[in-house]
Symmetry: C2
DNA sequence: ATTTAGATGTCGCCT
DNA sequence: AGGCGACGTCTAAAT
């Protein structure tokens, strides 16, 4: 990883052409050849960049100024003309162990599939990702009395999630073999608006304690 | 802009939770408070980040290690525990003049709408973004003989663009008021595969000289 | 301010 | 490898 702060001008030609006038910016040159041009604002997206795989060629322009030409696929090129270097350092970062994502809807769904009774007394799983014509229902269950229960799982319960579950219920209740099907809207946090809408639709809300569920999961699987 | 290279551990909690184990990474702390955590690979997307508006609070953890807690909207938090700082520098970048994009499909379409004859002798524009049930046709024209011509504009002509035009032509030719409609696939550069497919479908290809078109545009509008 | 469509999207899963 | 969908999507234009 090489970090450079420099007054520079950048031109990109590839899918489109783009130009950055001369100004002071941060250049990040990664080990795989990729280059990022960042300013002191905006979001995580650079002003300009070249994605790997690509190669950097350092040269000297007509006027004697240093320039980098980064070549990617499809003859995409990023040309950086450097007017003045204010900082230049190299760092050995090694390989990153990588990001661990957790608490994503999928994981929450898996945990609830293992512990459906945490949603309602006596609930048992029929199947996860129960297929319907308009998409899969997160969890299809049966309650203690044997009636069908459709569960929609979200990390944050908002109105559109309730709408989604409503559509599923409307469809599922047309099937005489399943009807009547009731719904449970399960989330770590449920917004007041969503709660009101769910009540209006006759849908139950279940606030899920993610850490507690994960604890149950650990104790079952690891036994120590 | 502050650039830090450090052995650090990062935890994010917001829409999801994510964890980065202790490793050496680059931290970019921008003037607006936003923070980017980059490794020495991947694309321009950081491993983890906090978008503005947000605030950074520098503190000391229980074990005496420096930590940054970045707080954003909706109680999103990014917590960075620093084990060892390998580099730390600050830079005044000033305000960036910003990116100038050019040659995006829309711009090319505008230029061709002004100069349809550059695609084929005697071609005149009927309308731009001609609506159909499956989406708008970039340019609908008429040739010297009065027959309809549908034009699909791309910066780079690839197979999917030919497929797109094929779908439009298939639909447009069902309309007895328009049929027969022929097609022109216009791009600054047309890939051999796309050219072959277009020929097979009876679609003409037109390679557009963007700079020449822009020149015509300038001379018309600026007159100097 | 809110919504909508495009993006040099990127990323991951699946066939 | 190629297609499809989700994303902490981001971004800018139009309403």
């Amino acid at each position: 990883m090489r970090l450079v702060v420099a007054r520079c001008q950048v031109d990109y030609a590839g899918r489109l052409t783009a130009h950055l006038p001369m100004a002071t910016r941060v250049l990040m040159l990664k080990a795989d050849g990729s280059v990022l041009v960042h300013s002191d604002g905006g979001s995580y997206k650079p002003l300009n960049w070249m994605s790997p795989p690509c190669t950097v060629r350092e040269g000297v322009g007509e006027d004697g100024r240093v320039e980098w030409v980064v070549t990617g696929k499809n003859d995409d090129t990023l040309r950086i003309v450097v007017d003045e270097v204010l900082h230049d350092s190299r760092h050995d970062l090694g390989v990153d162990p990588g990001l661990v994502k957790d608490g994503v809807e999928k994981h929450l769904q898996e945990l609830l599939a293992e512990h459906p009774a945490s949603l309602a007394e006596g609930l048992t799983l029929v199947r996860r990702e129960y297929p319907t014509a308009i998409g899969p229902v997160d969890l299809m269950c049966r309650d203690a009395a044997g009636a069908s229960v459709a569960v929609e799982v979200k990390r944050r319960g908002e109105i559109d999630g309730v709408e989604q579950l409503t559509r599923y219920l409307e469809l599922l209740n047309r099937d005489p073999l399943l009807a009547p099907v009731r719904g449970i809207f399960a989330a770590q946090e449920i917004r007041p608006q969503a709660r009101v809408l769910a009540a209006d639709r006759g849908i139950a809300c279940a606030v899920v304690d993610y850490d507690a569920l994960r604890g149950m999961d650990d104790s079952e699987h690891r036994l120590f």
